[in-house]
Amino acid sequence: MAHAFIAGSDRPEKTVIRAGFMPLTDCASLVMASVLGLDDKYGIKIELARQHSWSGMRDRLLQGEIDAAHVLYGLLYGVENGIGTAPTRMAVLMNLSRNGQAITLSRALARLGVTDLGTLAAAMRKSGRRFTFAHTFPTGNHAMFLYYWLAAGGIDPMRDAQVATVPPSQMAVNLAAGHMDGFCAGEPWSARAQMDGSGFTVATSQDIWPDHPGKALGATAAFVDANPHACRSLVAAVLEAGRWLDASQENRDAAAEVLSSPAYVNADRRAIAARLHGEYDNGLGRRWIDPDPVRFHDEGEANFPYLSDAMWFMTQHRRWGLLRDDVDYAAVASRVNRVGLYREAAVLAGVPASSSLMRRSVLMDGKVWDGSDPDSYISSFPIRRVVLAGA
């Protein structure tokens, strides 16, 4: 069946796809698609390009130096809507992963008796100083999860605290030095902060939103429009890699070994492997096997580019004033998320695809998000930066 797509008029327009990735555990499916040679099966060659910053990744995408990227879902929508940059039409080809990020607080806070969100809020009220929390990119997933989590505990992230963007590799150092109180980032950086004793894991991202969308496979709309067949091959190859990752512990172990090398994540294999398996240690004596660890496939459920997932990031951009005006959330999401192309790739890789464009999620505060009424959803948050017309 695959041959029908990679030969003749459906042949990939471009056979070498330069794909950017950040040194994070959840780059696994993109990296393994290349390492396992799954790209070859679909008539393309994925050329991996390790990046140093999300801003650099974005610029290279926009300049065409890289064709596709393992990228923060929220960042793509920030660019689409022109937050901090000229608005540029972007595309989400698929969701790469779910879960597996975390919020870490400093050891110093643990010594003051902080163990969870409630005790953190109490400590902040009691203390005279302003707490600082870091994330990895202003419009990114970690910022949105951090703000959501703080606000769910009655803490206004902008008014009651100070927020900063800090490169993941510098998080633990700043935490240990007392320059900040906590951070939200991807793995292996939270595991490393816990392992080196600078912090403890206070919440996983799946605690905030079970099965939340994570990194997306992104590109510019112009690239996708010019190379639809190549993009379809890319998605099919990465879908196969995700299926392989979720298939067994042995496969994830093998992936941890590959990822730990300097060419990819460049980190201790153990820091990658444990949480890849869902084995958590919060650093305060609690150890558990997480029922919702990072997922790369989940029968394709983790990969489907649900419009409601994309819309959630936009509602949070609006909530925090990053997005200055109301947008037609559903229209923007259906323009950016290439559901049709994804479905073709899913057929190619033999992966089931959802028939629904929206899904229902319940977040940590009990709020339901199903994509049906973004305006009411935004105005339902007592802590927000934006006053909505008619709300």
Binding site: E65, I83, P167, H179
Partner: protein, 213 residues
């Protein structure tokens, strides 16, 4: 509010040193140091002064807020790019050019990018001869933006002045039963006698009106 001084200011340039991340080996650090030196020399030879060289740490946003640079130069490979992104978004009403350096970009497309108002440009390496043309274009844009900002604040002030004058005229007309023309003449005479601007006289009248109710 007075608009910022129209006296030609010099471009305030800050160079951000790439973070000494734990992964960086000595050779990488040495290469960075060489590139920084080359950049500094290039800027000085081109007649640009560097206000500060800042380390890319958690205090960077604070220092930049204090220094208020017109231009920030950072290595495109630096992971501190995202820290600057935070500043770009936090201060997005006052666009600030940021120059980045990497390997392949022709001057013409760079020119076009800058003309289009992109706040990040990419040039070849950190060679001194490549630094000057970028800065020249950036400088042009900087002056144009300054001019636009000045014009904008002029326009805003004129609008605000006109509103003040209209309101003060209204007060004079009501209190002293004057026609609009007479009220305006009264304002003008007062302004000339007291050597004040029309808007300032109008403001005083409105202040008094506030006080007396």
């Amino acid at each position: 509010m007075k608009p910022p001084s129209k006296v030609q200011r010099t471009l305030r340039i800050v160079v951000v040193n790439t973070a000494s991340s734990d992964a960086a080996d000595e050779a990488t650090l040495a290469a960075q140091a060489r590139r920084n030196t080359a950049l500094r020399i290039g800027l000085l030879e081109s007649g640009y002064d560097i206000v500060a060289m800042l380390p890319a740490d958690i205090f960077l946003p604070e220092r930049i807020a204090q220094i208020q640079p017109d231009m920030i130069i950072i290595d495109s490979e630096s992971d501190a790019r995202d820290v600057l992104e935070h500043i770009v978004i936090a201060t997005r009403d006052e666009p600030r050019p940021i120059v980045l350096f990497t390997d392949d970009q022709t001057p013409s497309s760079m020119d076009a990018a800058i003309e289009a108002g992109v706040s990040a440009y990419i040039v070849d390496g950190l060679q001194a001869e490549r630094v000057k043309p970028v800065l020249d274009v950036a400088m042009k844009r900087f002056h144009r933006e300054q001019k636009l900002l000045d014009e904008l604040s002029d326009t805003r002030r004129q609008l605000a002045d006109r509103k003040l004058i209209e309101r003060a005229k209204g007060v004079l007309m009501a209190r002293n039963r004057l026609t609009e023309d007479e009220a305006y003449q009264r304002l003008r005479t007062m302004a000339m006698n007291k050597k004040l601007k029309l808007a300032e006289v109008a403001q005083r009248i409105l202040d008094v009106e506030d006080l007396l109710g």
